[in-house]
């Protein structure tokens, strides 16, 4: 086929130099990860002598981190903050996005523009008054504060994503639900919302990764040993290990922290990388 030959010579011809550089880049990344996993199974003196894994597998590093350093507690804190806020934001943002995407009403443009600009508001602009509000309400030690804050911070992006998603759902579906006697809100919850699952799943994956890795708000509202997120917990462990000189356990903590997202990425990499462009290129 003549056409294929041309494609081969133009766009899809391989770039040998590029492949070489990318291979080195990937080897660097994978080697680092493998080394860190191996170091987490060695002893600190083996690490310093460059003889990792020479005396078998030392799972006691993991036992130490899990038992003495509360990492499971931090893990469940992160899970609580992240899962509840990712769940809550859908119920806040999905109905609003649907209304904005499919109904004409006064102020519709205004709400849409307001939320588009909210995506650009730096969190440092919000943190002082929010901290003071929470303090005045006497809630600064409440676990739920961070859940509520995460829910609110995710609203702009979630709406941005879902508005464009809901506008792709054909209007006939909504109309036929209304003809069959559904009220406007029932038409959404019973008919449109279930159909929107693919979009909701994609935006939730993004919200999940973003919130799981969030740092600034957690530093303000969850920096005590019983409320810490995994990221802050790791930082506390790293600070502690540097003084106690237990590098093997330090790497075990690092592995425990990146493992959950790594496993998620292995299963969902196509969906995650596809979603990056759906969110970025359309805007």
């Amino acid at each position: 086929m003549a056409k294929n030959r041309f494609i081969k010579t133009s766009r899809t011809s391989t770039n040998k130099l590029g492949i070489c550089i990318m291979t080195l880049w990937c080897v660097f990344t994978v080697f680092t990860l493998v080394w860190i996993v191996s170091a987490s199974l060695s002893t600190t003196s083996e690490i310093f002598d460059n003889k990792i894994l020479s005396s078998g597998l030392h799972f006691e590093n993991y036992v130490l981190v899990l038992e003495k350093y509360n990492i499971l507690k931090y893990f469940f804190n992160s899970l609580l903050y992240t899962a509840s806020s990712c769940f809550a934001v859908i119920f806040l943002a999905a109905p609003a996005s649907y209304a904005i995407a499919t109904y004409e009403f006064r102020g519709r443009r205004l709400v849409q523009t307001a939320y588009a600009s909210a995506m650009g508001i730096p969190s440092v602009m919000l943190m002082v008054p929010v901290y003071m509000m929470v303090g005045r309400m006497g809630l600064s030690k409440n676990l739920l504060v961070l859940v509520v804050i995460y829910t609110f911070t995710m609203v702009p992006f979630t709406m941005f994503f879902l508005i464009s998603f809901f506008s792709t759902i054909p209007k006939d579906i909504q109309e036929s639900a209304l003809v069959e006697g559904c009220t406007h809100s029932r038409a959404f919850w019973k008919v449109i919302f279930p159909l929107a699952q693919p979009g909701i799943v994609t935006v939730t994956i993004f919200n999940f990764i973003g919130t799981w890795n969030e740092y600034t708000w957690a530093l303000i509202f969850a920096n005590s040993s019983d409320r810490r997120t995994l990221a802050l917990g790791l930082q506390a462990i790293v600070d502690g290990m540097r003084y106690s000189g237990n590098w093997a356990a330090l790497f075990a903590a690092v592995v425990l922290v990146f493992l959950p997202t790594l496993i998620m990425f292995i299963f969902l990499s196509e969906k995650i990388m596809g979603g990056v462009t759906a969110g970025a290129v359309k805007g």
């Binding site: 041309f6 494609i7 133009s10 766009r11 011809s13 770039n15 590029g18 550089i21 990318m22 880049w25 990937c26 990344t29 994978v30 680092t32 310093f48 460059n50 806040l92 109905p95 609003a96 649907y98 209304a99 009403f105 709400v111 307001a114 650009g120 730096p122 440092v124 602009m125 919000l126 943190m127 002082v128 008054p129 509000m133 303090g135 609203v155 709406m159 009220t183 406007h184 809100s185 890795n213 740092y215 600034t216 303000i220 995994l230 990221a231 790791l234 790293v238 600070d239 790497f251 690092v254 990146f258 790594l262 998620m264 990425f265 990499s269 990388m273 990056v276 462009t277 970025a280 290129v281």
Partner: protein
């Protein structure tokens, strides 16, 4: 029927309007307001705040740490940005030709984006940059590049450069993915005809790919600039001393001024909440300015395909 529709709209839209007002508008205005006052600490009663006019802003511009923090952001935005975009574009071009293993490579280059940044920082600091068993130390010793092997990457002299390299390394994957998917949308015919006319690969990249990636580049540059201006975590975690001027950035400076900066053994800065708010307001203004400039520059002659 109309009334029922209105009820639904109110029920669906009012909650997010309320969130917008309570969580975005009120705190922003309050931060601006506070930037004109002097107050010792966050717990101080607002009745005792002292009106200060523009003096917080005047002090801010006189503060060498503030100037330094913006120089650092500028370096990240321009030098780091140039490196990230060139590498990302180069990788995207390489990957646009599907070859064996290209999907795995794409995933591995993207991988740092999903790892908790604190874990990333720890891997770089405690392994790659370590001076006794670290990857760079071992690699350069093995290659007999002793001068390179002996560089103390995390010392105050090198900390900023090391931090920037580590941060940029992780960012490449994100921009690579954005460029790659934009390239895949360009119709293959364009390249076929250009090839028929005898155009070289580089010529095609310059005259077909680059112009058609203009909109993507605008979006990507906006993201990058927002990330650079809001740079916070790396500055706080990378350096053993989160208050060190070498790795200081505005968001971190503000955090220290407002909440007091003493996490782990670092010195304690004097709290100056109003001054911190001024730093935040200036940061927000910078976001708006940069956003407008990019929009203004990017809107000239667009191509449709």
């Amino acid at each position: 029927m109309k009334k029922q529709e209105r009820n639904m709209l109110l029920k669906f839209v009012l909650p997010v309007v309320a969130v917008f007002l309570i969580f975005f508008v009120y705190p922003s205005l309050r931060t601006i307001y506070m930037s004109f006052y002097k107050m010792g600490s966050l717990s101080m009663d607002p009745a005792e705040w002292e009106f200060a006019g523009f003096s917080n802003y005047v002090d801010m511009f006189k503060n060498p740490l503030f100037v330094k923090s913006w120089v650092n952001v500028l370096k990240i935005a321009v030098i780091g940005g140039a490196a990230v975009f060139i590498i990302a574009l180069f990788f995207a071009v390489t990957l646009s030709a599907k070859f064996k293993g290209s999907k795995v490579m794409r995933a591995i280059v993207y991988l740092p984006n999903i790892i908790t940044p604190v874990a990333m920082v720890t891997m770089w600091n405690q392994y790659i940059y370590n001076n006794e068993y670290g990857l760079f130390h071992e690699l350069f010793s093995f290659l007999h590049l002793d001068a390179l092997a002996d560089i103390p990457w995390t010392s105050s002299e090198w900390a900023f450069r090391s931090m920037m390299v580590a941060f940029c390394f992780g960012s490449v994957g994100y921009y690579m993915i954005i460029y790659l998917s934009a390239m895949e949308k360009i119709p293959a015919d364009y390249y076929d005809y250009a090839a028929l006319e005898g155009a070289s690969k580089f010529y095609m990249f310059r005259r077909i790919t680059m112009p058609l990636l203009r909109d993507t580049t605008r979006t990507a540059v906006t993201f990058w600039m927002m990330g650079a201006i809001n740079f916070f975590l790396w500055s706080r975690v990378f350096n053993v001393n989160p208050l060190a001027p070498e790795t200081m950035v505005p968001a971190n400076l503000m955090f220290n001024m407002v909440f007091g900066g003493s996490t782990s053994g670092g010195s304690v800065t004097k709290m100056n909440v109003g001054g911190g708010c001024a730093v935040g307001v200036f940061l927000c203004v910078a976001v708006v300015v940069v956003f407008s400039i990019i929009n203004f520059l990017g809107n000239k002659d667009r191509y449709e395909y």
